[in-house]
Symmetry: C2
Subunit: 147 residues, 2 copies
DNA sequence: TTCGTTGCAAAAGGTTTGCATACCA
DNA sequence: TGGTATGCAAACCTTTTGCAACGAA
């Protein structure tokens, strides 16, 4: 059923033009970006990549823990390269999309405590913070003309 | 554009057989439940309700703040009637679906602090905790035979 | 009688999969 | 050359919307 010698080993993965392009595009993006946005940016820049490949590359990065992921309110997944080791939490402006990494030691500690108290194992947590940033709060209009 | 006399007033809403059925079904559900599951339970129980109506009722409850909502990992929305005033956070078992409401004052305080520090306004937070419950952790099999 | 509600069907999104082709190692 | 990656189209799923018919107040 399983070949014991390969179980758990990361599969070798090939360096291709498309994957390099997706990675570059993801790093160039200022903030959290959706698969569709990445694909549009690549296409607009003259790089021919299939939307499917963008999704597959993002899934690969997700499996390897190399991206942070949040969901916007429609359920769309937004990706950002993970800056260092360990994960981060972000505060995202609902109006203009600006995102800030925030200190979250308190949440990490709380999650650990919850795991201990409930006797659950392998506890994972997702925290999503959203609000209106200072700049957007100052202007009552709807669009995100700054940034 | 707006009739000032009605702005902000909750619309009158009619008591119908279908809404009553959805509400009852939601209360009867042991844990977080999806629209599809509610609809299947109702249909199986002989109550004819359209899936559309289930969704519309859940949206109404959401607007009125009468349900807690989490997303499972596929992005599907799961609903549960909100027990008291104020929102709750839950720890959900990834194997059997068991959910526990957990104390989250630490997170609430942290969210408030973040709002203050960043000068963001109208800060909202979503926290999702998942893990493996004690019972599931004890049995290595995949299914959720207990509960 | 009025106007909110229902339900079907269809649309709308985002995401995944089947499969023949292309291409890295 | 062998097996992975690609890309198109189509499938999938959940959720929303258009619209004619229904029914609570």
């Amino acid at each position: 059923m399983h070949d014991p010698s390969t179980v758990g080993l990361p599969r070798p993965w090939r360096a291709t033009r498309q994957r390099a392009a997706v990675l570059r595009s993801l790093r160039d993006a200022a903030d959290f970006t959706s698969a569709r946005e990445l694909h549009e940016a690549l296409t607009a820049g003259g790089t021919r990549v299939g939307l499917t490949t963008v999704y597959r590359t993002l899934r690969m990065l997700e499996r390897e823990g190399r991206v942070d992921i949040v969901r916007d309110r429609t359920g769309e997944r937004l990706y950002r390269p993970r800056p260092t080791d360990g994960h981060r939490h972000y505060l995202v402006c609902r109006r203009c999309g600006l995102s800030l990494a925030v200190a979250a030691e308190a949440v990490e500690r709380w999650a650990d405590d919850v795991a201990t108290d409930t006797h659950f194992s392998a506890v994972e947590h997702t925290v999503e913070l959203s609000g209106i940033c200072e700049q957007c709060g100052a202007r009552p209009d709807r669009d995100a003309s700054h940034q």
